[in-house]
């Protein structure tokens, strides 16, 4: 138990902070209800996937600057494929887009391993390339999403035996998020591969000496990142019903949430839960600022300032750790 507390202390604190923030929200706006929570969950969805994508590579000791561009590309691909197509066709589109993300992520990893150019430069270059590709697919926001996909994240799931008042607080978007992340993360965390990802991020030399296939593990980490980013892209399309070729602010947000979630930028530490809670915290802060009737643009500034401060704090901690 003490191990659990020591290791999850940060996440527990973050959760407590989220609850406190929630109470504050309720105080500011007594009418804040389950519907608002549902829209919060929907707004969080793409961010959460972006953060998951970033988390995997950061744990492996890298960084992925192409997350937002990857989301834009997968989003426009999905939207343009589904435009004017039948509802059933979307059943094919979803796995196709996910596979695309996985493969493009693996390409990122392979470029890093083969060219030996630092990850930050490679993913910067792929950021340009994926952005360009997104513009080639759709040069302006457009496309469409299948109705059942859109319905997948709106409203709540009626759970038998649960009173409506509680059920209303479990939006579908939240369930989709939990299911998608758990399907990949839990088996990964328990596998040797997952351990290897932590190992190469924690100490590459020791990992190599322990017989971990460092290169292969790195490629897989980036491939998983691509897969999560593709989920994020799909979530964008599901949420808006269209695809937009210009990447949203997901890169910085993902890095900030990763740091805030207790994943060290040096690699090897942390889990997925922390960053996801961090995303909820960051989004709820935004909601509160809006509820306080602060100009949305000022909100953007405050949000940006929080993110930069968090990243600076994280870098400072990393630097201290190294000394």
């Amino acid at each position: 138990m003490s191990h659990f507390l020591r290791r999850q202390g940060w996440v527990a604190g973050l959760l407590a902070f989220f609850v406190a923030l929630f109470i504050i929200t309720k105080l500011i706006q007594p009418a804040y209800g389950s519907g608002d929570f549902g829209s919060l969950a929907r707004a969080v969805l793409p961010y959460a996937f972006a953060v998951a994508a970033q988390t995997v590579v950061v744990i492996a000791g890298g960084i992925d600057l192409s997350v937002a561009a990857m989301m834009a590309l997968t989003s426009v691909t999905a939207a343009s494929m589904m435009a004017g197509a039948s509802e059933e066709y979307a059943l094919f589109v979803v796995p196709f887009v996910l596979a695309m993300g996985f493969v493009l992520g693996a390409v990122n990893g392979m470029l890093i391993v083969v060219t030996r150019v630092p990850d930050i430069v490679v993913t910067l270059a792929t950021l340009f390339v994926l952005q360009g590709a997104a513009l080639l697919v759709l040069d302006a926001p457009g496309g469409a999403a299948a109705e059942w996909l859109k319905a997948l994240i709106s409203g709540t799931v009626p759970i038998p035996g649960l009173p409506d008042s509680i059920d209303a607080w479990i939006p579908k978007a939240l369930l989709v998020l939990i299911v998608c992340l758990c399907i990949i993360w839990i088996p990964l965390r328990r596998s040797r591969l997952g351990l290897s990802i932590y190992a190469i991020g924690s100490n590459e030399l020791a990992a190599f000496r322990s017989g971990v296939p460092v290169k292969r593990t790195r490629i897989i980490a980036y491939a998983l990142s691509g897969l999560f980013a593709a989920m994020g892209g799909l979530a964008l399309t599901m949420g808006t019903g269209i695809g937009a070729p210009i990447p949203g602010p997901y890169l910085l947000a993902s890095v900030a949430a990763v740091v805030l979630g207790g994943v060290a930028l040096g690699g090897g530490k942390g889990g997925l839960l922390g960053p996801i809670v961090a995303v909820f915290v960051l989004r709820l802060v935004r909601t509160d600022l809006t509820l306080l009737a602060i100009d949305p643009n000022v909100t953007a500034i405050i949000e940006g300032a929080i993110m930069v401060a968090v990243v600076m704090f994280g870098a400072f901690i990393t630097m201290r750790g190294r000394q």
């Binding site: 960084i63 600057l65 470029l111 060219t115 030996r116 150019v117 630092p118 930050i120 430069v121 490679v122 910067l124 270059a125 792929t126 950021l127 340009f128 390339v129 952005q131 360009g132 590709a133 997104a134 513009l135 080639l136 697919v137 040069d139 070729p245 602010p249 890169l251 910085l252 890095v255 100009d295 643009n297 000022v298 953007a300 500034i301 949000e303 940006g304 300032a305 993110m307 930069v308 990243v311 600076m312 870098a315 400072f316 990393t318 630097m319």
Partner: protein, 326 residues
């Protein structure tokens, strides 16, 4: 030492070494080839007016690429230049309506200095990766600009005559912008080659540990660097608004990626320690001509970005090979 001994070196390797030693010559050759292709595709396009126009559009890019060159020499990058340029341009255009131009200029440069300072402290003291840091400040900057826009929406904007003259005007067929650019470029080249600060930029990027052992304080160099970079970006914004003449909230954003690409093409290593500004200027010219070429070929914007991305990746990987060979 072995370089002075005449030994048969494989041709490919000789080419590589030549490229590494004199990056300017192949760059100029590339530029000429592009111009020739352009002339072949559209006979008669290459004339005096086209040249003046190309130079006019290349100059803002070249100054922003100068920011990238200097930051890249230290192993960094400055992605906030687009936002900074946009901010100073927008503030200038709106403040000059009911302010003294000198005052408006000072107000326009203020956010530049501020963002540079924050970047410098973040990178130099807290050791945030420059890419993340400058991206963050550029987001904040964009937010501030949006708020600012609300407050001045009523008063409107105008382009000061002087900036329009500087940005678009020609004197005897020569762009007036050169009046600003030539001294500025000379100053950058001089700073990099002949001042203590310039030396430190190269040395810090090449081997930070070595500079530390020589008594260099990293944070001082980096903070000064990012302030200078931001101020250059601010000046670019003023020039660019004179050229484009339409203040918008994303005025200079499209220049950011090309500015990185121009510096990389110009032979500045993204890992630091190697490169120079003359190469970057030619890199900016190459990109401007390339853009014209792609427009003529009706290549969409997306293809251009893909091309820039591949250029950055390819040149960096090739550079790594050249360095490792020795």
């Amino acid at each position: 030492m072995s370089t002075t001994v005449i030994t048969p070196v494989p041709f490919g390797r000789r080419i590589k070494r030549f490229m590494a030693d004199r990056p300017l010559i192949p760059l100029i050759i590339l530029l000429v080839i592009l111009v020739v292709i352009l002339q072949v595709l559209r006979p008669g396009i290459v004339n005096e007016r086209w040249i003046a126009n190309t130079i006019k559009f290349a100059i803002p890019l070249a100054i922003l690429a100068g920011c990238q060159t200097m930051t890249m020499l230290t192993g960094g990058i400055d992605l906030s230049v687009g936002t900074v340029a946009t901010m100073s341009a927008f503030i200038m255009a709106t403040q000059v309506v009911n302010q003294d131009p000198a005052m408006a200029f000072l107000l326009a440069m203020m956010p530049a200095v501020l963002i540079g300072l924050v970047n410098g402290i973040g990178v130099g003291v807290f050791r945030v990766h420059p890419l993340i840091m400058t991206l963050g400040t550029s987001l904040i900057g964009t937010g501030c600009l949006q708020v600012y826009q609300r407050t001045v929406i009523a008063s409107g904007a105008k382009i000061p005559d002087f900036l329009a003259w500087l940005g678009t005007g020609l004197t005897w067929g020569i762009p007036n912008a050169l009046l600003l650019f030539v001294p500025l470029a000379a100053l950058i080249v001089f700073t990099l080659a002949r001042t203590g600060f310039g030396r430190l930029l190269y040395a810090v990027g090449d081997n930070e540990r070595a500079t530390r052992l020589s008594g260099v304080q990293y944070w001082q160099v980096i903070t000064a660097l990012y302030i200078i970079s931001s101020m250059l970006a601010g000046i670019t914004g003023l020039l660019y608004i004179g050229l484009i003449k339409a203040p918008s909230l994303s005025l200079a954003e499209p220049l950011v990626l090309p500015s990185v690409a121009a510096a990389v093409i110009g032979g500045t290593s993204i890992f630091g320690g190697r490169g120079g500004y003359t190469g970057t200027i030619i890199g900016a010219l190459i990109l401007t001509v390339l853009t014209t070429l792609l427009t003529i070929l009706q290549m969409p914007e997306g293809a251009r970005r893909i091309l820039f991305g591949l250029i950055v990746l390819f040149v960096t990987a090739a550079y790594l090979r050249i360095v490792e060979e020795r």
